[in-house]
Assembly symmetry: C2
Homo-oligomer: 524 residues x 2
Amino acid sequence: MPGELRPVLIDGRWRPACATGSFRAFDPSTGEEVGDAFPVSDWADAQQALEAGARASEALLDVPADGIAAFLERYAERLEARADEVVAMAALETGLPAPTRLAVAELPRTTNQLRQAARCAREMDWARPVVDVSSGIHSCFGALDGPVVVFGPNNFPLAFNGVSGGDFAAAIAAGNPVIAKAHPCHPGTTRLLAEEAHRAAEECEMPVGTVQLLYRLGHAEGERLVSHPLVGATGYTGSRAAGLHLRTAALQAGKPIHLELSSVNPVFLLPGALDERSAEIVDELRNSSLLGTGQFCTNPGLVVIPAGPGGDAFATALVGLLAEAPAGLLLGRGVLRNLGDAVRVVREAGAELLLGGAPVEGPGFRYQNTLLRVSGQRFLERPRAFQTEMFGNACLIVVAADREQSVAIARQLEGNLTGCLYCHTDGRDDAAYGAVVRVLRRRVGRLLNDKMPTGVAVVPSMNHGGPFPATGDPGHTAVGLPASMLRFAALHCYDNVGLHRLPAPLRDIGPAGRVSPAKPPSHR
Amino acid sequence: MPGELRPVLIDGRWRPACATGSFRAFDPSTGEEVGDAFPVSDWADAQQALEAGARASEALLDVPADGIAAFLERYAERLEARADEVVAMAALETGLPAPTRLAVAELPRTTNQLRQAARCAREMDWARPVVDVSSGIHSCFGALDGPVVVFGPNNFPLAFNGVSGGDFAAAIAAGNPVIAKAHPCHPGTTRLLAEEAHRAAEECEMPVGTVQLLYRLGHAEGERLVSHPLVGATGYTGSRAAGLHLRTAALQAGKPIHLELSSVNPVFLLPGALDERSAEIVDELRNSSLLGTGQFCTNPGLVVIPAGPGGDAFATALVGLLAEAPAGLLLGRGVLRNLGDAVRVVREAGAELLLGGAPVEGPGFRYQNTLLRVSGQRFLERPRAFQTEMFGNACLIVVAADREQSVAIARQLEGNLTGCLYCHTDGRDDAAYGAVVRVLRRRVGRLLNDKMPTGVAVVPSMNHGGPFPATGDPGHTAVGLPASMLRFAALHCYDNVGLHRLPAPLRDIGPAGRVSPAKPPSHR
């Protein structure tokens, strides 16, 4: 039986798992199982991965930044060479469109991310070196003590995958080995990615155990993994409930864990904006909210519109557009079930159903495009219930009676990845913008103006983070290099330590004799 | 009865506490209560402080960086004007020497820290602005959403006090109001400091509620405070047990909390160093370990020496010096009791008592200068027990059989604020240094070479942090501006937001700070 299962990647080789069970992916378009059988690992697999990861963590101390960068770049090349197979597998397992998304957007984003990480590793300013010759005290960031465990989410099988995505790239670039935990939605895709990562690591003579892969673990084993003494830190992107369980376990053991959880990504449409260009905005919202069948972390799930004819017309137009659009595929049966449950919670709290509200009959994982509406007053009576994340193609409109109520709504918002405001271009909404943004600004990681939140550019100024429950820490971002690397690094200070004993970012910083916190070091 | 209690500072005025009890400070030299009676606050006080703090947090959005800096500077001036009274009160309540420590070291350090924080607030590079004109996405750090609660420790009544110390300065400079929780050891000192902070805030027209003070809270109220929806974050310096309870409460509610907990600060004396200058090093160690009666966060509590005549002679010399030195005052009855308990744990684990090991008879809080010794082999059998923090004037010597055992000892260390290595100046210890430092480096925040760990310079390159249990996050420091400010800040990203709507650090950034320096962000 275990012989029929795909092997796991532990300690530098693909070997049969110590399996307690098995699973297969589903084709979301049919709801049928597809592809190979993959193992659910016993604790023994995790333990061996941890021990190998700890050895790799120490061995990586001897790998110069150039070597790490070369590995990331070689991995990107190998992914490109196998692009067709990777994209086809990801499309099969996730139902995401290959030509319009996976091939042209997500795979290039993934390889771009790996190359950006390589550049950051090489340039070393990610380490934020501070040289203070007068005190003889210097500091910079360095790799953690132990491997980084990465749990990837279901919704980006390549760009956020535990073995190829943003957390992987950031952790490796900062000098850490990675133990990837695949998402059970797309084990076949993850296998292909890990094969290329492993080959690239071998070609570049990276330490054995730099990249490891487990397909699946029980809940108890997952909690044991993130809290193990040999772990450096964990990156987790996924559901709030599972993330909080992992966090409790990790933090009790004193182990850092970085979470990206749920977000409803509020959008405030100010009155002047609708007066000026309602049709344009309704189109933007429709496109943003249906992207990936609404399964984006930054999906606009809560839209605040003004009461009155402008708002009413907007809602009517949105219903029309969403009704015309085909219901897309959802990533899995669990997503379909959770979406139905979440819509029920929001309806039971008192929202009116304008469209959809039920699964699509027939094979495959589909839910009707769904729109709900609630008054601002009712929202304010039960703000938590109305912020239930409806992960998928569902959206809640909140009708604000006036500017004061818009501000009151903003004040009840939980932490989010993003928040948007749309204004009239002539400045007539400026006072309303000021009143709402004062509150909204500090409830979100990324504030947008006249722009929808989906689409997270991989640029150094990006913040893909935000206050809880969007993430566990409002000072960190999961996207945007080099800042995202700091989640997987420790601050290292050197006091009275001679130049020849300093790490590269401090040795090579350039002209001595001054504190230079912002100055990047010269290339080696 | 409540009329006899000192008032608390809430919402801009000193008013009687809603008290559930009262307490007084102790004179450590007599063990007798001294000074005024102070209130233990009911939850109602905390609730009002939170509400006022939330209003202040929003009002601070309108205070420019110059205003915040002026307040910090005015506060420093006012402290200097009242220095004699502050120092006398702190000496009375803590037993710390006024002339050699409080007046000449700790108060100047405190005012210097406030002024450094003022400078950082003004210069704004603490916010790490990233401007990316080509993507139209910019980011910088900004204040949190809600007041920062600061729990100060017992051992630095001025420089780490909740209402004047490093966390206070960092939180205010980042634009947050502070709710200080006094340490019950020195309420009178804290009152004097808060009076000056409050007057300076009034003079500088800071928002009402920018500085608030509660003297004491029950455990349940403390946990409720740090986990309250209106809180921005918490800074806590103190015991591990209390800190972990607060952390559990805060994190379950999604509230950031920054902890500085226990540390044994290992010192490795390599063989050549003792061959070369044993007498010099034993003197350094004596001085460092008795500083503040051993009640420094960075007190060298675990010293690894080589087996053999050099190590034996060192231990004998250290016993001699410590036996000659008078036993200093401890900060409180709890410290005395905990020190006795900790010494007992270390002895029961198998350490040999070389000196001391009992309280000093007579009035006041004193414990004999205490030295214990254990073999490396025994240490490795019970590494956790031998890392019990003996907070006070007690130290454990670990005798390492050889280099391999030194490395094995390093490998069993928990996270620490500091780690030191002493080497021969001719390089003969280089191989041993390399072997130990490879492991030690990542177990400590600050690595020292040929230098004792006490004395934490307030410089930008300082890291007063380290892996758990030294702190809760190896990426943050509690000392060293501006880095320490980032604990009390959130990353704020602006996507497609016009220049006139950006915060000052992004609006005023020079071309050097731009990621893509093409042209300034255009107005829409």
